[in-house]
Symmetry: C2
Subunit: 279 residues, 2 copies
């Protein structure tokens, strides 16, 4: 009788594994301190490599992880987004749990979603949100010391706020781009920039369609020149117009920067989508 026939589970799973490719998107969080940045580099510990190793550990399958963007050595992520293509048929929630079992303490998958094959963590991204943290004052920050830039002097935040407005909109950000990565154009759009003061710390929120290499850290370094009253707020406008990197301020340290969120035309992790979220 049919009900006693053993179901050919193994065979079925195997043939599914062979035939149907799918794409998964992950939201990941990492503490950048012990990583040599996001992008794989032989001989160095990187976020991409750890994620690929975790995927292979769980699935015994090689995979390439694509991120929404690279983060430099020391830069943190609250919610970086990555994707991979796979033949593995594990439910998304199981895949996430398995990944986390393989990942180290300073890196975790926080959300997962089954996405369309044309979703691409980098190409589909329409905006990014970064936060830069500063502790300004003669006293060393202790509890936040690995997440902020410590400046020994108070900052003139109203002057910085005034200066920050010059970044808004579409500009050629060549003066705020570090050399080292080729891009077709240095024109970018900054959608918003907010300076938030809370308990002696300053958080600079920057949202834009995309950023040049070290653009956010260079923008922050220049805003700090204004905050220290070494420069007038209008100086930012002049540097922007000059397109000359040598005229901008120093690059703010990596540890203060956190990739906060990546925006897509439709949020792959929204409850309506086939996603599992725990944040």
């Amino acid at each position: 009788m049919a009900m006693f026939l053993p179901t050919p589970t193994k065979g079925v799973v195997h043939s599914m594994t062979e035939s149907s490719s799918r794409r998964l998107a992950f939201e990941v969080s990492y503490d950048g301190a012990a990583f040599f940045g996001f992008q794989r580099q032989p001989g160095f510990r990187t976020v991409q490599e750890e994620l690929e190793l975790a995927w292979t550990g769980f699935s015994s399958e090689k995979a390439v992880i694509h991120g929404s963007g690279r983060t430099d050595s020391g830069v943190h992520a609250r919610a970086q987004v990555v994707h991979l293509s796979t033949m593995h048929q594990a439910p998304a929630a199981i895949a996430m749990r398995a990944m986390n079992a393989y990942l180290p303490q300073d890196l975790a998958v926080t959300q997962v979603a089954e996405v369309a094959m044309d979703f691409h963590a980098r190409h589909s991204a329409k905006a990014k949100h970064y936060v830069y943290g500063i502790a300004a004052g003669p006293t060393r920050p202790v509890l936040a010391r690995d997440r902020v830039w410590w400046l020994r002097r108070k900052l003139d935040v109203p002057a910085m706020r005034e200066a920050s407005h010059f970044f808004l909109g579409t500009h050629d950000f060549a003066a705020f781009a570090a050399a080292g990565r080729s891009t077709k154009t240095s024109i970018r759009r900054v959608r918003s920039i907010h300076l938030q003061e809370r308990r002696g710390c300053l958080a600079i929120h920057v949202r834009g369609d995309g950023f040049l290499y070290r653009q956010v850290r260079n923008m922050v370094g220049s805003l700090v020149e204004v905050g220290l009253n070494k420069r007038d707020p209008r100086w930012i406008q002049a540097v922007l117009k000059s397109g000359d990197r040598s005229r901008a301020g120093q690059t703010a340290p990596a540890a203060g920067l956190t990739m906060w969120r990546v925006h897509y035309p439709s949020n792959p992790f929204a409850p309506a989508a086939a996603s599992v979220s725990y944040r």
Copy 2:
């Protein structure tokens, strides 16, 4: 002529140093992870010892640091308060800067004040405010991992909030006191308890006149039993009434606890007082 006489600065300072004792209060912040608690213990790295070593390094004077209370191994402080008596006549602001030059990365003085000789960090304290952080959900916290207790399941926060109300007021907290420290009475007053949810983290704010050894961590451990729906909110009331430590929940881990603030009848660090504040 008198105006050309060299002023005997050195002599005067020396005689002041010999004669006038004064008291300084410091607000200190520390990351508890690498400390064996606050209280000095030969052979272990403690907050008290580091502060005393810093004072001696700066002043060449031995001093005893008195804290508002001990914190256990692994417990953090945003704003612990300590005092010392000294013959050294350095201005308070200079003393603070000098202390910080001697202190390690995970410990700093954040405020200083010249206080009356009858001010005592512990005896003068009228209330303390602690914050306990919890990350509840299957995903490991990454950026906050050294400051929170990670529970793998969601918590029923409304039930915890209901349960927390039973702690309010004056009670015999014997059921929530760990053995190991003698006190005359286990009656304490909890002034307020607030559960604050923010981005998937739960912060439990507890304010009280004083706390028994591990009382806050034991209260949190029991609230978590309620949050996991293992216990009814009313169970807290029954445990309190029983006075029986074996009936309460587990002790919440040290890393989630932060000494947030110590209150005095008049704030020694208020701008009106002879204080220097940088927070």
